[in-house]
Symmetry: C2
Subunit: 154 residues, 2 copies
């Protein structure tokens, strides 16, 4: 029995190839449909639906994990800011009933994106509800390998 | 000297009447320009700019405070979900250079809001960048009084 390779995510079982960092209480995975490059998720290992369901130890560990992962991914993606968000319950946009932090590295819009288009500001907004295309496991595994290597160095 | 009444928020000093809950490391305040009813902020007492600047103790305390405050305000506002967000750095929309968690109670759209308007989904999205009108200190103090009373009971 290999308990270390069991990652619950609500009704789903997460393939360990998607997971690039873990602690006894939390794990971080690459996203099936990233909003932007480096958009990853950090979850408690225990199958908890609401943020308020977490114990103090789980809450501490979850956010220290998010802090570590966010700092590394911001640097890796040459970004200068991070968005952290929990959609805690269906009316906040939660679609998978398992607590998860979205982390998204953010950077200044490139000159191409910033060409005077009046919708630039709109486009820069973080839309957690947007429907993206599913990636293949190979794409996700490759990204996770890079982050695993990155985080193994700290 | 009353250190308990000094609340730094980047370059601003927060009037203690806005603060409704505090711990040795964190405090919670009502918002000058709330996005929705019950939109409050939770900050570290120390004047830290980025989430990654917080110590493990500060991170733990900040999120346990957010958990406590969020749970109480969700119930108080008869909501069913919560949005938690940190805009960590200017490219993520941070406008005050002091770590702060936005908490926003969310509920199902009322029938009035849900009248078939195609923009309903758009309106329901949480836009942390939106410019709202400043409230008066009296309005904020009244809201903070209600939450202070609520949280004193737990």
């Amino acid at each position: 029995m290999s308990s270390i390779e069991q990652y619950a995510f609500g009704p789903f079982k997460i393939d360990p190839r998607q997971v690039f960092y873990s602690t006894p209480l939390s794990y971080a995975l690459v996203n099936l449909r990233p909003l932007l490059p480096g958009n990853v998720l950090v979850c408690p290992r225990r199958d908890a639906v609401r943020f308020g369901d977490l114990t103090a130890d789980e809450t501490r560990d979850l956010w220290l994990t998010a802090q570590t992962v966010g700092t590394q991914l911001e640097s890796y993606h040459k970004a200068s800011s991070l968005a952290f968000a929990i959609q805690d319950g269906p009316q906040a946009g939660q679609t998978v009933p398992h607590v998860h932090i979205h982390i998204v590295p953010r950077k200044a819009a490139s000159s191409e994106e910033n060409d005077g288009n009046k919708d630039v500001k709109e486009k820069q907004k973080l839309d957690l509800d947007i429907q993206m295309k599913n990636r293949t496991m190979e794409e996700m595994a490759q990204e996770a390998d890079e982050y695993r290597s990155l985080l193994s160095k700290i």
